[in-house]
């Protein structure tokens, strides 16, 4: 495989993982906050649906996404009618796939983080005049930070390693939707060990850098 194609796979992977982690981070945090505040059954159902992709095989998730995003579906149909283009086999579809599979990780980390915050601290803040939003931003979020950061790191790792579902909804179009995992798979399959090795090393480098950065941030916040 040529160098420009390897580069485009790496850049695409980083772009998809970064965007997906951004969405997952915000969505997972808000969901964890909302769902932890009530015991209603409907909320428990939503929680189950959010976490489900974690236990389903990626190809099943991919197939479900195909059904949900294809031209014949409700959402896919809307997008096709509006833009004349299908969501499938585009890099946004890869972002959607990455969000779906990494959201459970972020959600569970965030939920653990929020549950770990002593409710008495939030109650003290209430009596001191703070409204719920300020309690969330000044008390809950800072104290849940380690678990939230871990959730973000896990989400990023999951997103950048996403293979099965991405392959099904975004395909493996070189330069357009070919990410590191799909490029490596097909390179290895085709006997192109030079490319496979290069992609493997790049992957390791990204992973190690990500883990080091997270640990660094966690250590810094722990010594405060």
């Amino acid at each position: 495989m040529s160098h420009p194609l390897i580069l485009s796979a790496v850049l695409l992977s980083l772009r998809i993982a970064a965007l997906s982690t951004l969405f997952t981070g915000v969505l997972g945090t808000l969901l964890a906050r909302k769902l932890s505040q009530t015991k209603k059954t409907s909320f428990r159902v939503i929680e189950t649906l959010v976490v489900l992709p974690m236990v389903l095989p990626p190809s099943i998730v991919g197939y479900l996404l195909l059904l949900a995003l294809g031209k014949n579906s409700w959402l896919g149909g809307l997008i096709f009618a509006a833009t004349g283009k299908t969501l499938l086999f585009s890099w946004p579809a890869a972002v959607i796939a990455a969000v779906i599979v990494s959201l459970p990780l972020m959600y569970q980390s965030a939920r653990a983080g929020f549950q770990g915050v002593d409710q008495r601290l939030e109650n003290a803040a209430r009596t001191l005049g703070a409204n719920e939003w300020h309690i969330f931003t000044e008390i809950t979020l800072p104290l849940a930070k380690p678990k939230l950061l871990t959730g973000l790191a896990l989400s990023f790792a999951r997103a950048i390693g996403e293979f099965g579902a991405t392959l099904m909804v975004a395909g493996n179009i070189p330069g357009k939707t070919q990410t590191i995992p799909t490029a490596l798979y097909f390179a290895a399959e085709g006997g192109d060990h030079a490319t496979a090795d290069a992609l493997m090393l790049i992957s390791l480098f990204i992973g190690i850098t990500a883990m080091f950065s997270v640990n660094f941030i966690l250590d810094k916040s722990r010594t405060q």
Binding site: N123, R126, T127, L128, N131, E138
Partner: protein, 239 residues
Amino acid sequence: MIDFHLVKQLNAFTLDVAHTTESPFLILMGPSGSGKTTLLNLISGLTTPDKGYLRLNGRLLFDHDTGVSLPPRDRRIGYIFQSLALFPHMTVLQNVMFGVRHRHRGELHSQIQERVMGRDHRQSIHEQLDFLKIEHLSSKYPAELSGGERQRVAIARALSSEADILLMDEPFASLDRANRDNAIQLLLSVQSHYQKAIILVTHSPEEADAFPGDHLEILCGKPVSLKRRSGFLDDSVNS
């Protein structure tokens, strides 16, 4: 002045306590599990009563019949939990400033005003820090403080949020005898200096004896005895 009648159905019994007083101290006594902490939660608004009303210094904070129920942040009540609940990720100064910043947030319309107010408030905060002898601890974190110091920070924080009344849940429980006696003297002087009423929960008759005012004993959620003791700091006598 506090005037209330609060009712709340709990697991083991129904809490039903009424009291009216002008006295600076209201001491709630009784064994653990008798509902004293629940009563403090009801007064502060952290728990909603099933029935009743609550009036503090003439302000109606809760009335089941007319649907009035102010949230905790609007009641101007300083609640010092048994665990103190100091914010571990903030310094002493930040902890104490928390109440100041949030008390006035609704009144401020610009960042500039907030900065100016901040400086003014830092002046009055320093008075509290000084009176409670914790000024030198301003930049320390709660984990670095002793139990007695932490308690003084919790009191400073409640006072700086401009509370009209202080609720204290078992303030002496985790203190040794020497610190406990210091804490008792501290509370008496805080009440006298700031002229705020204090509702104090304790299970120890010995600690309760150190305070003037109304002594209300609660058992299984109901008041069983009331003693009104005259103050030794002022001369108000209740019959």
